[in-house]
């Protein structure tokens, strides 16, 4: 993975020092809250319901064990002993004190971690596929380009005061695990007719109040032009994006307002003038970054499928876990393991400091000291020897990190909601807890198959409810919390936005509604069909009828 060189290290140290000075000025009254707010936001510090919240970047979801231990240290020293992994592969701490924030930022910087631009109207954390570098279906490791974009975007003098936040995601695989279609810029690596690897560039995707699926602005972009083309997109957005209304300020609004063809025309015009300038990426730089992502020292092993199958026949519990949380690796003899942060009844994505340390140890012993964060709020150990799987499973189970529910009904994506977040209209976590408790029979979940539930406590959609197979949106109706369901969303390469099922439901009725939706799916499904496939074939009516009653279905 990327290691800071002298330049990177100096940069984050200087930033940490600048932030310390800004906090000092704020506490001394030299800056008002209005002046301080954008500065602290650009260092990832929010004021939430109970305290300051610090959002820390995990660049493209890749962490070393040392960095995970630093997360644990920060949780213990500056917070209440836990952290929360988010849908943008970041970690959030909910109980930070302003006067201690500079120390936390400094401690993170010494482990090559920053909170720079995790908030604010600037380019945010560049996110990617949690299986990058290891997936069987991958064309090339997207993280090389994520790192290039990360450095490019940090303290970019032209783009630090964009109309609104800007999110970029990159996938190196045709199976999109990075949700690129719902990002401001989505980058899909693929080969052109000459067999060269480059990027399809999508623009104007996004969730929130007005969700959109991104549109293709360019079919194929040579990697050396990644920064020049992104700069052209950003410049047009910076100059023309709406600044009159905070809810209409994202790039998706202006792209859809003027149309993708017009937006492309403006970007291409800009790109023509800059593409051979200073920002064109030299081969040496790509090679330099690529070297950091060289594969670890894999042993030469064979796949031991038959041995594992034999173990699975005699040990049903191991079988459930293998079936649930382990996927194929591109290197023979290895496997990719999901560390589930979704034990039923627990807070999705939360993990204690002690467990962070434990996962760091597991990474050192089983996976070359590296951990990934998935936008589904789980962790991943990407390079586990197949021969180690059973032992790893036992250790994960002892830590309550082995719930075999990846991509199943209880693998819920859930934002912090009104329990923590100042923006929320309703609580989200208790809903997730209720649902995961109601669906705790693993055999049933595995029979039902891939079925995602995404919960957001408000229209900002940090829980990605628009792109869940079932989406749940918390709303405030006359001072009470209600929950609106959507069906049929998806964030993969066949991305779609969910359809509203009907009027909001009170909290107590949500698990029952989910049960009815599941039953309706099972009733209508054809062999091999996941829920999303059945939904796309039969439409919303059967589900409406089942949840709201036949009379209200029309």
């Amino acid at each position: 993975m990327y290691r800071y060189d002298e330049f990177d290290a100096k940069f984050v140290a200087e930033r940490a020092a600048q932030f310390r000075r800004q906090v000092k000025r704020r506490l001394a009254g030299e800056l008002t809250e209005d002046q301080f707010r954008p500065l602290r936001l650009m260092n990832g510090l929010y004021l939430q319901l109970h305290a300051y919240m610090l959002r820390v970047n995990v660049p493209y979801g890749t962490l070393s064990s040392k960095q995970m231990r630093t997360f644990a240290h920060v949780a213990r020293t500056y917070d209440k002993g836990f952290g929360h992994f988010t849908t943008r592969q970041n970690i959030q701490y909910n109980w930070i004190k302003l006067e201690e924030a500079p120390d936390a930022v400094k401690d993170l910087a010494s482990s090559e971690i920053t909170s720079i631009q995790s908030s604010g109207n600037c380019v945010r954390n560049i996110t990617s596929d949690q299986y990058a570098g290891c997936a069987k279906d991958e064309l090339a490791d997207p993280r090389i380009y994520c790192e290039l974009l990360r450095q490019y975007s940090f303290l970019h003098p032209e783009f630090s005061y964009l109309p609104r936040k800007f999110k970029i995601a990159v996938t190196g695989s045709p199976n999109d695990r990075a949700a690129v279609a719902v990002h401001d810029i989505g980058l899909r690596m693929h080969k052109n007719e000459q067999g060269e690897i480059g990027f399809e560039v999508l623009v104007g995707g996004g969730l929130g109040r007005t969700p959109y699926i991104g549109q293709t602005i360019r079919k194929w972009l040579h990697p050396s032009h990644l920064l020049t083309y992104v700069e052209a997109i950003l410049r047009v957005y910076n100059m023309l994006g709406r600044r009159d209304n905070i809810h209409k300020a994202r790039i998706k609004i202006i792209v859809n307002q003027m149309g993708i063809d017009k937006y492309r025309e403006l970007v291409d015009k800009e790109f023509e003038l800059t593409k051979n300038g200073q920002l064109k990426v030299p081969d040496e730089e790509i090679a330099r970054i690529k070297a950091y992502f060289a594969p670890p020292k894999y042993e030469t092993l064979k796949d031991i499928g038959p041995e594992l199958d034999a173990r699975r026949k005699t040990d049903r519990a191991f079988d459930r876990w293998m079936r649930g949380n382990v996927v194929e690796h591109k290197v023979p003899g290895y496997a990719i393991v999901t560390v589930s942060l979704k034990a039923p009844g627990r807070v999705p994505g939360d993990i204690t400091a002690d467990k962070m340390d434990a996962v760091a140890d597991l990474a050192d012993r089983y996976s070359f000291g590296e951990i990934r964060v998935s936008h589904r709020q789980n962790l991943v150990l990407t390079d586990v020897k197949q021969g180690d799987l059973e032992q790893l499973w036992r250790e994960l189970f002892a830590l309550e990190l082995a719930t075999p529910n990846l991509g199943l009904l209880s693998d819920i994506i859930c934002c912090p909601g009104l329990d923590y977040c100042a923006l929320a209209n309703a609580r989200a976590i208790p809903i997730a807890q209720d649902i995961s408790r109601a669906f705790s029979d693993i055999d049933e979940l595995q029979r039902i198959g891939n079925f995602t539930i995404n919960i957001s406590g408000c229209m900002n959609a940090c829980g990605h409810h628009h792109v869940g197979h079932i989406g749940i949106l918390g709303v405030d109706k006359r001072g009470e919390e209600f929950f609106q369901l959507t069906l049929g969303g998806s964030s993969d390469q066949n991305a779609s936005l969910g359809d509203r099922l009907g009027p909001g439901l009170p909290q107590a009725e949500v698990p029952g509604a989910i049960r009815k939706i599941v039953d309706t799916y099972l009733e209508h499904s054809e062999p091999g069909e996941r829920f999303i496939d059945t939904y796309r074939r039969v439409g919303i009516e059967p589900f409406k009828a089942s949840v709201y009653g036949a009379e209200t279905a029309h």
């Binding site: 004021l47 109970h50 300051y52 302003l98 807070v347």
Partner: protein, 121 residues
């Protein structure tokens, strides 16, 4: 309708309530509750001065109910601010032991069997 001032303390972000003698207290029961709008506006003035003195941020008036000396906001959002998140992350019985996923010999497997039996009864 009884009202009081809630804010976040600047230095640590913690929720505080304006209390007598212009102090700020983390316990809602110690906050000053007033009944008429004129008094409420006075409280707000005091709060604004505290903002200028860099003690608190974003003070607002909220509606509360008082019963037996216990103060409780009427809006759920302010209830959560006053008493903390409604989700508990530290309680063992929040988690649901799941049947059939424990390695052999793991004590939790016994716990799971016990819970499941109870659930069926």
């Amino acid at each position: 309708m009884p009202q009081m001032i809630i804010a976040n303390r600047l230095v640590d972000g913690r929720v505080v309530f304006l209390a007598p003698e212009e102090r700020w207290d983390t316990a809602i029961d110690h906050g000053s509750v007033v009944d008429d709008d004129a008094e409420a506006q006075q409280l707000l003035e005091v709060a604004k001065q505290a903002v200028a003195r860099c003690l608190v941020i974003d003070p607002i008036l909220i509606q509360v109910k008082v019963e037996n000396g216990k103060v409780r906001p009427t809006e759920i959002r302010e209830v959560i601010r006053a008493f903390g998140p409604t989700v508990r992350t530290d309680m063992e019985d929040v988690a649901v032991p799941i049947v059939g996923i424990a390695p052999e010999g793991d004590r939790r497997a016994e716990g799971a069997a016990r819970v499941n039996r109870n659930a069926k009864e």
